[in-house]
Symmetry: C2
Subunit: 301 residues, 2 copies
Amino acid sequence: MANFHQLYIFHMVAKLGSFSKAAEELSISQPAVSIQVRELEKSLGCALLHRMRRGLQLTDTGQAVFSYTQRIFSLAQEMETAVQDIQGLKAGRLTIGSSTTPGEYILPWVIGQFRQRYPGVEVTLTISNTQAIVDRIINRELDMGMAGSLVDMEGLESFPYIQDEIVLIAAPSHPLAAREKLALSDIEGQDFILREPGSATRRTAESCLRAHGLTVRTVMELGSNEALKRAVAAGLGLGLLSKFGVMPDTTAGFIKVLAIEGWRCQRPLTVFYRKDKHLPLAQRAFLRFLQEERPVPPGIK
Amino acid sequence: MANFHQLYIFHMVAKLGSFSKAAEELSISQPAVSIQVRELEKSLGCALLHRMRRGLQLTDTGQAVFSYTQRIFSLAQEMETAVQDIQGLKAGRLTIGSSTTPGEYILPWVIGQFRQRYPGVEVTLTISNTQAIVDRIINRELDMGMAGSLVDMEGLESFPYIQDEIVLIAAPSHPLAAREKLALSDIEGQDFILREPGSATRRTAESCLRAHGLTVRTVMELGSNEALKRAVAAGLGLGLLSKFGVMPDTTAGFIKVLAIEGWRCQRPLTVFYRKDKHLPLAQRAFLRFLQEERPVPPGIK
DNA sequence: TAAAAATACTCCATAGGTATTTTAT
DNA sequence: ATAAAATACCTATGGAGTATTTTTA
């Protein structure tokens, strides 16, 4: 490949029309400039410029080379600013993966807040099951993730972000919805609509039911929180869902959260990422943003 | 300015996805590659790629830098071929200046022949008075010139290209045109149409007349050979013109060359150029072409 | 004849090599 | 376990400096 050092010196000489001006601009001595230009001419096998008293003149080869060096060095300049921009978070990319619950109810809002602060950073959110997210983070396909249950966290750093709670929901028309206070025993044997197996919400829900010594009939399994709510609203059964998923809908009135004496089903929503020595700047900024500001969508305690 | 050596090594690593493959491609050792990439990362202040067992992965900064190095090094590649093309005369420029006579009757055809040989070379022909051509060659605005008389040739190399002759012309209707043989004395006192003062043809013509001891009446001065021929054809007087200028027209019959016993008026058409150590390749090729082939338009002895 | 560029030399920092260790799958 | 990459250390060359001469308008 060409000697870019010599090309840059020639470029300056051609631009300023003088060896000594180029030397000054480059903060090197004038002989150094002469030598490098001569070497460049030697290696190209032809003269690039005619030295004359008043202003240099480019040969045709010199003009051709100069037209290229202008483009090359302006690209290099542009590249340096691009890198600076990424460093200064005026540019950059951040890929986040998450399971459905945080991906649908928490992260869209949090990412919006983050982007108000750093408008140049492009953020992608991928919603998938927790294990897939973890794998893709290990492979560096994703920068970081948020999920409700952690299957295999080897090689990952993590911290709990927010406390989630699985609540019981019913259609307002459901017999249990009318009653002021419910006991755990009221749930026993009821028809339930749950998320699909493999979902963290499902896993948490089932272990809570088990912990409370309850057995229920699973009449339907659905792969999305929204679908589950529609099914519950249609009166197909009771549902178990993150409190974040019912917040807007309870106010709208077509879903009711059942207040059951003694029901406790909490889980932390956890943020996780590779424990690399040097994290991408955009990622560091996002993690700092999460930990220092703990932004939470409005209407959530 | 950036360290292009390091950028090139990084570029190869990113392109081939491996430090050792890049080392092989670059014919340097693998540690050399490692070191240069590390240095580049250090000077940018951030990682460019993640080293992993199977294929490297670029960081976002790495991707940004790679997208630039691709453009930069393909430009550099293109530049090298462009220079090669100029060297190989597949490209290049040649600017020729000349006075009217060679510029109108000799060079257009000669340049045509040259361009058949070297189609990539762009040739410009500027027609002006001899002194202006010489000045512009000294200032390197023109590469070379051809003219009939040389005013001040200091600093120029030259060689005679072809022998020109100033001939006497008349309209076929002119009284002298009818006579088989003319003597010099027949010219004495005749009306003449000459080129403008400053023209080499004019200077040669006048010195020939003087040498033959003739005095004539200058009834008209014209700045172009073609205009002069029209005036002569219109019967406004006798004309003095290069034999190259009358060649096609005598056959056409509206101009007659007078055969005058004892008239001799020769001058060399001379090629000249700066005596630089290294001439542009296109110019060297053209000079070689002139000297070795001596191409002359058809119909000229 | 003066300012700009070219030479002549000396020196050192950078990039390269070899040998070896560390890392990651 | 085994390639690939990183580290350690030594070497050499390319590019820089100062002093000086040569060129050119």
